[in-house]
């Protein structure tokens, strides 16, 4: 049983997606329990896989018993076991927290929503675990197509058009990736990542391999919303229905950032990525621009969810910059930031989703006096905000710390400056909201919500997961040293 964990991890949610859709015709009430069961099994398996990887080291699983490079292999190492755990955790917690909201919003389309939800998670898990370049493309498109549909289910009139813009950009990205894989296949005749890695070194001088790398990189960067290819992102995430936004926003961009790191580390080698092509400095500068422009754009927004989407653009800048600084410290910081950012984004999006359920609209001035009305939700939002700013002991501080250390090691002080400036802008951002919510006079300023005295919190099913995520932020922060030394660094041995 346990040797089949990598396959079960992907297949259990896949089968439950189909079961849910069938179930929605027969017995509508059992959809949510089925979805939660499917994701819980997947969550437990990902814990099992992480423990197994830590004990035994990296291993590969051959689907159908076909040995690579002929068959498709699932590769497990310390880093992707960690990312898998992050994906299943975020998906499960978000489903539990927003279950009631989903039942209310999609009363007649429940089956479709849950099936898409699970298929999206299947796509992401597959992307992270697969060891095959073409398989990655297919799973990437599974995750993207379900993502487009989830976003288009939003109530807002602008949801379909934002989703269609995302379709255009996403398809261009996926096509570039496919083209890059094609060039690699022409040169090496293989699609298995480990095999390609072995075959590539004699071909590093070839311009076809350079073209392949650039095509793959640009494709993945479009998908992750890296500045200046981020224009689809704010609209798509703002107009998505809130249960889908708090699933897609933390996961999609982060998993794509992981794909970029995987391409750099386990398909190409850092010697090629950092020395043969002299792009790393340029990309780090672009990342600095992404960080600062994302933060400034966030500052100019009135709508809180839109503001958070620009913060995602800025966070992607952190990860890409860290990955391209070219040393082990910065790379560990980037990988740690993938985990932290998934958790922080989930935390703020859950809180914002809960607030928007009560208020309807989400402009900053609508929050006036909200602390007295929804103390726990707002506390969760503040915790997420503090972590995004990077205040110890929340986890956001530690990944920024590793990134800054890595930047100093690489003598790149521009990146250090960008990190610090964006943290300062984040302080302004979140304290503006906290001030309005804490000090604002609800009687005069409240436009969006009727003021009534007393606490009007959302239900416990939302509050408990939010509390879990908030404590998770602190726990991950305290143990981030352990995560880096015990899990991420061993995963990077032989790379730097």
């Amino acid at each position: 049983m346990s040797e089949n964990y990598p396959a079960l991890l992907v297949i259990v949610p896949l089968l439950s997606a189909f079961a849910i859709y069938a179930c929605s015709w027969l017995h509508k009430k059992s959809c949510l329990p089925l979805a939660i069961t499917g994701l819980s099994i997947s969550f437990l398996i990902s814990i099992g896989l992480l423990i197994k990887v830590l004990h035994r080291g990296p291993f590969s699983y051959h689907l159908g018993g076909w040995t690579p490079p002929w068959g498709i292999a699932y590769e497990l190492d310390q880093i992707n076991a960690l990312v898998l755990l992050a994906v299943t955790t975020v998906a499960l917690v978000n489903l539990i927290a927003t279950g009631k909201e989903i039942e209310r919003l999609f009363a007649d389309r429940k089956g479709a929503f849950y099936a898409l939800y699970l298929l999206f998670v299947v796509g992401l898990l597959g992307i992270v675990v697969t060891g095959d370049l073409f398989n990655l493309y297919v799973l990437l498109e599974i995750a993207s197509i379900t993502g487009y549909s989830l976003i288009a289910m939003g109530e807002s009139a602008r949801a379909p058009i934002s989703s269609l813009n995302y379709v255009f950009m996403g398809t261009i990205g996926a096509c570039f990736y496919l083209l890059g894989v094609g060039y690699m296949y022409i040169m090496t005749g293989s699609l298995n990542m480990a095999d390609v890695r072995g075959l590539l070194p004699p071909l590093y001088h070839s311009s076809a391999i350079l073209a392949a790398f650039i095509f793959c990189l640009v494709g993945v960067m479009i998908k992750m919303g890296f500045f200046p290819l981020h224009f689809w992102l704010p609209n798509a995430y703002t107009y998505a229905p809130s249960p889908a936004a708090s699933l897609i926003a933390p996961l999609m961009t982060k998993v794509m950032a992981y794909v970029m790191i995987r391409l750099m580390v386990s398909v190409f080698s850092p010697s090629f990525v950092f020395s043969s092509i002299s792009a790393s400095r340029g990309i780090v500068w672009l990342a600095c621009l992404a960080i600062i422009i994302g933060a400034v754009m966030a500052l100019s927004q009135r709508d809180i969810r839109r503001m958070l989407t620009y913060i995602i653009v800025s966070e992607i800048g952190y990860i890409v910059g860290g990955a391209w600084l070219g040393n082990a410290t910065a790379m560990s910081g980037a990988i740690l930031h993938i985990l932290n950012d998934a958790l922080m984004t989930l935390c703020v999006f859950l809180a914002v989703g809960a607030v928007s359920r009560k208020l309807g609209r989400l402009y900053i001035e609508d929050l006036a006096g909200l602390f007295k009305k929804m103390p726990f939700t707002m506390a969760g939002f503040v915790a997420g905000g503090i972590s995004i700013i990077g205040v110890p002991p929340t986890c956001g501080f530690f990944s920024k710390w590793y990134l800054i250390l890595g930047a100093i090691e690489a003598n790149n002080y521009g990146f250090v400056a960008a990190l610090i400036i964006s943290s300062l802008i984040n302080v302004a951002l979140f304290f503006r909201i906290i001030e309005t919510a804490f000090m604002g006079n609800p009687h005069t300023a409240a436009i969006g919500h009727e003021w009534t005295s007393g606490i009007q919190e959302v239900s416990l099913t939302t509050l408990v997961p939010l509390l879990v995520v908030t404590t998770g932020l602190v726990i991950l922060g305290i143990f981030s040293g352990v995560v880096v030394t015990q899990v991420i660094r061993p995963g990077l041995t032989g790379v730097f």
Binding site: I145, Y148, A152, A157, R158, I161, T171, G182
Partner: protein
């Protein structure tokens, strides 16, 4: 002349797929009607499918099955004489992907038409600004 022969004629499949891709990209950027943009997207995807198919083709070669190799059994066993079927098989999957993307995009276009009663992008944008 030599440049013409080595870069244009010998690698004409690359030029064709690049031209097709650019036609698709142009339609996606410059056209105002959403359906025309979608067709451009489909041309873009098809260009890459044709690229994969072209790299898997070989003149005078057969399929890698012993039965089909004609009289001499050794014919289909020698890699020089058979076509690598893998790129074509991969493209079956890619075609499925592109069809489903196109399907989702068309469904979105229908939804947009129901909301705004038009598929011209500039009219949709003015309506968004008015509301």
């Amino acid at each position: 002349m030599e440049f013409f022969l080595t870069h244009l004629v010998a690698k004409y499949n690359f030029w064709l797929y690049i031209i097709l891709m650019m036609i698709g990209l142009y339609a996606m950027i410059a056209k105002n009607n959403l359906i025309k943009k979608l067709v451009g997207m489909n041309i873009f995807q098809t260009a890459i499918i044709l690229f994969y198919v072209s790299i898997g083709s070989k003149k005078g070669a057969t399929i890698p099955i012993i039965e089909h190799s004609g009289k001499t059994v050794g014919h289909a066993l020698d890699p020089a004489h058979y076509v690598n079927p893998l790129p074509h098989v991969l493209m079956l999957t890619a075609i499925v992907v592109s069809v489903s993307t196109f399907g989702v995009a068309l469904a979105l276009a229908v939804k947009i038409y129901q909301r705004y009663k038009t598929l011209e992008e500039d009219e949709i944008l003015t309506r968004i600004r008015e509301s």
